[in-house]
């Protein structure tokens, strides 16, 4: 620091008057901070009034930012409710020359693992099942090699929660359950179009279909689907059944129904939950927070909040400046004393600057905390997912320090210019 160099120079020029002093022992940074902070808490009432403006300013800025992020997810969901609440996870694929293969693997217990994550409302597995060459799906046990080959509807293996996750409803009958899945029961649920093709309209008598000659009892027909419309053309079997009968070796895809706005977070956590040793091996498709239209609407709201925040911050800065100035006037005697005891003008200025920076940081900390709390509180009441970037809270504290620094500049300058003689006479 500059003043230390100057004081060392002083030692050289003043002969025997001064002892040689180790630099570290003379008004070091820790002395500065101790001197500057030891009186801050001595008047709690005044401290509260001083930091109030900064608390409000930083609080409203942090809250604005948080509301903007939270609402961005929220608004986009109003435009695209379903898309913004669905995440899908598949193994990453790679090509090796002419071959291509999956790099990772989704575990069979993926739904249980995913449901433990905050923001996940349901998870299911769905996999494509490939049938043997020439295998047919029919509603009667025909084995007619001379029959013209007909297109075979796709077969999907799924876990029992599938319909909840994709927003589907049964047209008739019921979905299979975890019991069917665990036992590998030969039951099937049909998509509405495949049911039509197979001439199955009612399931109360449990009609059978034959996949490659094996009978499966049809227990339900899927009707409306909000996503995964391709399931209308598919035959859906329990995963356990497909593993047992049709040689399914690994799940193809995990689909997750999430809370609005949780997309980016789930996208980060899901691969870790499913393949902690190699999260890169899984590919996640998650909705991004915000949409162009949503952002445009939100933009206007933000400007208003930001102006409010900036104005409160200005008021907060003026508050700190005012109180620091008052404190300089009140402590004229102390300043004179310190100067008499050997403080330089710079050390006095530094002390008051650090004091107001600390007040600013305190205001920033409390403001940022209140801002985050406000976002979380409103989100909880509205049943939104609160989204607050930790960077915003840190930035709040930094801005608080900056406000303190700027507001302390003038009072500190005034303090450093006080003549010790005048001060010692004034401050009895």
């Amino acid at each position: 620091m500059k003043w230390r160099k100057k004081q060392r120079a002083a030692v050289a020029d003043t002969g025997d008057l001064l002892r040689t002093v180790d630099r570290a022992d003379r008004f070091s940074a820790s002395d500065l901070v101790t001197e500057a902070t030891s009186d801050i808490g001595s008047r709690p009432g005044r401290l509260v009034m001083t930091i109030l403006g900064t608390v409000l300013g930083i609080g409203s800025l942090v809250a604005t930012w948080g509301f903007a992020q939270t609402a961005a997810g929220q608004i986009s969901s109003q435009f695209n409710q379903v898309a913004s609440t669905q995440v899908s996870i598949e193994p990453e694929t790679a090509s090796f020359g002419e071959n291509s293969g999956a790099l990772g693997r989704i575990p069979w217990d993926a739904p249980e693992r995913l449901e433990r994550l905050a923001g996940v409302e349901g998870a299911a597995l769905i996999s494509e099942v490939s049938l043997a060459e020439g295998a047919a799906i029919t509603s009667v046990p025909l084995n007619d090699p001379s029959a013209p080959s007909r297109s075979v509807p796709p077969v999907r293996a799924a876990s029992a929660e599938l319909l909840d996750v994709v927003g589907g409803e049964m047209q008739t009958g019921r979905m299979f359950d975890d019991g069917h899945d665990a036992r590998g029961d030969r039951v099937a649920v049909l998509g509405s179009r495949v049911a039509e093709k197979l001439n199955i309209a009612r399931v109360d008598s449990q009609p059978s279909i034959f996949i490659d000659g094996t009978a499966y009892a049809v227990i339900g027909i899927v009707g409306e689907l909000q996503t995964h419309g391709d399931l209308r053309d598919a035959v859906i079997l329990p995963t356990g059944t497909a593993r047992h009968d049709l040689g399914l070796v690994a799940p193809g895809e995990a689909i997750v129904h999430i809370a609005v706005g949780a997309g980016p977070q789930i996208a980060e956590q899901a691969p870790l939950a499913l393949a902690s040793e190699d999260p890169e091996s899984l590919k996640v498709r998650a909705p991004q927070a915000g949409s162009a239209l949503g952002n445009a609407v939100q933009g206007d709201v933000n400007v208003i909040f930001l102006i409010v925040g900036a104005v409160s911050l200005l008021a907060g800065g003026l508050g700190i400046a005012n109180v620091t100035l008052l404190s300089v006037t009140e402590r004229t005697g102390e300043i004179g004393l310190r100067r008499a005891l050997g403080a330089t003008r710079r050390q006095i200025a530094a002390q008051f600057t650090v004091e107001s920076i600390v007040i600013g940081v305190l205001g920033g900390l409390i403001g940022a905390a209140l801002g985050v709390l406000a976002v979380v509180g409103v989100a909880a009441i509205q049943q939104w997912t609160a989204v607050v970037d930790p960077f915003v809270a840190i930035a709040g504290v930094v801005v608080g320090a900056l406000v303190g620094w700027i507001s302390g500049w003038y009072p500190a300058r005034r303090a450093s210019r006080i003549e010790p003689i005048t001060a010692l006479r004034a401050g009895g």
Partner: protein, 224 residues
């Protein structure tokens, strides 16, 4: 041997109008280890004298040598460093910080004077023991009597081991009995080798010093 304090034709005038000459061609020489009182009525230039001796003010004309070094060449930072290490102050109104304990008040000057951190607490305790207030270290100044406050201020003035102690009306706020105690403390410090300059309007206080200098209308004269 060079004198510790040497004033040569020092004049200090304050621009007016009307211009006031608080010191007029003052000459004074004080050796290390002396106990000198500067006595005079109010308005005679006592405070100006103290400020110049304490490097809080500069002469308009003339030279002030401290420890043989001409002080007019020193920068503000150098003067601050000399104040921190070589000069101790005691004031009439004590100037203790009311929101800090007695101990912290005594610790404070050492942050500016470069006493090694490891030594500070021990030296503050020694200084308080020396003024007989070791048992009051955790008290706040507001709870002390006037005499005790002044003794804390004296502990604070000597804690950095100065060469010169300047006291401005040190008994001005004390009753007669406590004044006596404080004066005895000064005499003890002087007996240990500390150079002492007491500025006072009180003849009784002035007479206790080994040497007395009268100041009147900005001029100095030795009291025989």
């Amino acid at each position: 041997m060079t004198a510790l304090v040497e004033l040569r034709d020092v004049t200090r005038s304050f621009p007016g109008p009307p211009e006031v000459q608080a010191l007029k061609g003052a000459n004074l020489s004080i050796d290390a280890g002396e106990y000198v009182s500067i006595v005079g009525p109010s308005g005679s230039g006592k405070s100006t004298m103290l400020n110049i001796l304490g490097l809080l003010d500069r002469p308009t004309v003339g030279e002030y040598r401290l420890g043989g070094t001409p002080t007019s060449d020193l920068t503000e930072d150098q003067r601050a460093a000399v104040r921190a290490q070589a000069i101790g102050f005691v004031f009439q109104s004590f100037h203790l910080m009311s929101r800090r304990t007695v101990f912290d008040n005594v610790m404070m000057p050492m942050t500016y004077s470069g006493v090694p951190r490891a030594e500070r607490a021990r030296r503050a305790e020694d200084a308080l023991d020396r003024v007989g207030l070791g048992h009051r270290r955790t008290f706040f100044p507001g709870t002390l009597s006037g005499g005790e406050k002044q003794r804390v201020a004296i502990a604070r003035a000597v804690v950095s081991d100065p060469q010169l102690l300047l006291a401005d009306e040190p008994t001005g706020s004390l009753d007669q009995r406590t004044s006596g105690e404080v004066m005895e403390l000064f005499e003890d410090l002087n007996a240990d080798g500390l150079t002492l300059v007491i500025i006072t309007h009180d003849q009784a206080v002035a007479e206790r010093a080994a040497r007395s200098v009268r100041i009147s209308d900005g001029r100095l004269s030795e009291v025989p």
